[in-house]
């Protein structure tokens, strides 16, 4: 009888622990996609800063923005479908806006070829956009990791 009570008590404890933990588990797909946006953006902007007149224009780099937007769209769709966190849905939408505005700033820089940078973005502008996308994507990944750790 005593043994049975101990087993039941243990089972109850394990069940309670699992129920408490399950809704808070970090979604690895969210972390992976958010980190991928950050790392691919970092690589892209580092390469962009090293490019010369022929390769630095928006037209030559549009595919990279398409790639980053595709990743962020997948992240947004996954978060929305999992219905795990309304806050992250909104954050991932803001990440898409960050990418769209970064893209627009590159377009604007490339259109104006009569400045010192020609069709290229100013190196300082590239660094600013890189930092913004890095901190935005890191915030989403960190939120998921923190929720999983609770």
């Amino acid at each position: 009888m005593q043994f049975r009570q101990i087993i039941l008590a243990l089972f109850g404890l394990v069940s309670l622990t699992c129920c408490a933990l399950l809704p808070r588990l970090a979604d690895p797909q969210v972390v992976t996609l958010a980190q991928k946006v950050g790392s691919d953006a970092s690589t892209f902007f580092a390469d962009l800063a090293a490019k010369g007149d022929k390769d630095c224009s928006f037209a030559e780099n549009a595919a990279a923005y398409d790639h980053l937007t595709k990743l962020a769209t997948a992240l947004n769709a996954h978060i929305a479908a999992s219905k795990s966190s309304p806050a992250l849905v909104l954050a991932s939408q803001a990440l898409l806006r960050t990418l769209a505005d970064a893209r627009a700033s590159h377009v604007a820089a490339s259109v104006k070829t009569d400045d010192a940078n020609g069709a290229c973005m100013a190196p300082g502008a590239i660094a600013l956009n890189a930092a913004a996308i890095a901190r935005a994507s890191a915030a989403i990944a960190a939120t998921q990791t923190a929720e999983g750790a609770q």
Binding site: S85, P86, A87, L88, L90, A91, S92, Q93, A94, L95, R97, T98, D101, A102, A104, S105, A108, A109, K112, D115, A116, N117, A122, G124, A125, A127, L128, N129, A131, A132, I133, R135, A136, A139, I140, A142, T143
Partner: protein, 126 residues
């Protein structure tokens, strides 16, 4: 061109925090950290403008990228809505617009946020 980044950051962070009306220590830390990051970014954008590396249109877009990123950071906190995050960042940037514009010599921020203020202060419907 000279801007006190620490003072700007403190002003932006405090404005964001006041707008969010939150007692959470996590929100406070993130609001103040975003204030510092925005101040640094604005100073760099003002510098690029003053050096004529970018023009007003590009500067406005770069500011929007920074604003978007801060909204991501704040909206990722469960206790903050996107509307509240957007309004807080907007007010934070608007509060220092005059100082940054004066430093760069190009009125970019003030006109940018003057038109957006009405939207930020309007009652949220969503």
């Amino acid at each position: 061109m000279s801007l006190d980044i620490a003072s700007l950051g403190s002003q932006i962070g405090t404005t964001i925090l006041t707008s969010l009306k939150s007692d959470s220590g996590k929100v406070r830390a993130m609001a103040l950290a975003e204030g510092d990051k925005l101040a640094l970014a604005l100073t760099q954008i003002a510098g690029l403008l003053a050096e004529r590396q970018i023009d007003g249109e590009e500067a406005a877009l770069l500011v929007r990228v920074q604003k978007d990123a801060s909204e991501v950071v704040l909206a990722s906190l469960a206790e903050i809505s996107r509307v509240a995050a957007s309004k807080a960042v907007l007010l934070g940037l608007q509060g220092v617009a005059g100082v940054v514009d004066a430093a760069s010599g190009v009125p970019v921020l003030a006109p940018l946020f003057a038109t957006a203020t009405a939207l930020a202060t309007a009652p949220a419907t969503t």
